[in-house]
Point group: C2
Chain length 216, copies 2
């Protein structure tokens, strides 16, 4: 891509026409897929142009620098991960069953072992790079943690787990076990580390469970 320009120029799709927004979204979708499959550094302009079916000048128009593209992909993946975790399927993580359902999904997900977490693997690859992306990543992980924390607080309100549980600490355990387990499973090409870590983390949440009979 061209020389470094102010990244703000390319950050938002706000000023684009409907057709422009669609083209930008198509580029992003393919960029996210290539970076998830092969890594940020192995993803180059030519692959992206071919995958998205666009010209070099189009690519340059929407994403004048690789930095602007990487930033947009981080936002794209963060939105997808958060939307998935906030979906009906997990009912706001207000029960142990929803946590087990979540673990089960990722343990069964065929790309966990090869490509890891779509956001975590991106973070691992670029957090040390000289990109203005750390704050965006930090914000995304905070929101993700808050999905778990809010669920754990709700479980306390519903009398499902004890007030002795620390929702923030347990949320950090769940998200860390997930990120670390994904990395280990990806390296080992074996789902066991992730499966074990999530099961043990959720078992720990369960040690705070209040039996239905004992609940107020």
């Amino acid at each position: 891509m061209g020389a470094m320009e102010a990244t703000t120029q390319a950050r938002g799709p706000q000023k684009l026409t409907g057709k422009g927004q669609a083209t930008r979204a198509r580029i992003l979708e393919h960029a996210a897929e290539l970076m998830y499959a092969n890594g940020v550094h192995a993803t180059n302009n030519e692959q992206l142009r071919r995958a998205a079916g666009i010209s070099g000048s189009q690519l340059n128009h929407y994403f004048p620098t690789k930095e602007s593209l990487v930033l947009a992909v981080v936002e794209w993946q963060a939105e997808r991960v958060l939307a998935f975790h906030r979906s009906e399927r997990f009912t706001g993580f207000d029960s142990l069953d929803s946590l087990r359902e979540w673990a089960h999904f990722y343990v069964a997900y065929e790309r966990s072992c090869r490509e890891g977490c779509s956001l975590g693997s991106l973070a691992g690859e670029i957090v040390k790079a000289d990109l203005d992306v750390r704050a965006d990543l930090a914000h995304a992980f905070e929101q993700w943690r808050d999905v778990f924390r809010d669920g754990l607080r709700r479980m306390q309100q519903l009398g499902r787990i004890s007030d002795a549980a620390d929702p923030t600490r347990l949320a950090h355990l769940l998200l860390s076990a997930f990120q670390g387990g994904m990395l280990l499973s990806q390296v080992a090409r074996d789902i066991t580390p992730l499966e074990d870590a999530l099961r043990a983390a959720i078992d720990h949440v369960e040690t705070f469970a209040i039996s239905p009979a004992a609940a107020p």
Copy 2:
């Protein structure tokens, strides 16, 4: 560095003289430091030559390709991490106190928040790269997990934790919480995610503790 050559050529210091081994070790030490501080991709020949005080032809002699250098750095960091975890300090992780001491060390370690785990951050950066390094990383993480697993088994033999504990699963929880917590802390530039994840993971091990009076 030069064109790709068979990596086996540069993998071992076996055929080097004493002086050659010392030079190779000095290059490796500086390469590991640069990659830990700035990342693999941001580390280039010129920085490395300056840091290690060597010529380009010397660097080429010991590490003809970047791949050979990255492989050697992975081995170097793996050896250091394993030696640290096997040191007297942690007494083979045969007690809850040794686990707490370990967590305390990394929570207090000033580089946890900036550079993350020396081996995990390397893995996160290169696991998707087209390098012949995954098997080496997998082996290192397995050995690391086994340090914890063996410690947990010893705790069971000593009657410190119950036979209901699954040492492999708990070892995966500890290592995943560590790797994930390191990534989250690095992204947030805040030690809390790591601190919380390790504390909760060790709390979970403690739920299997047998009080001294109850032990056989």
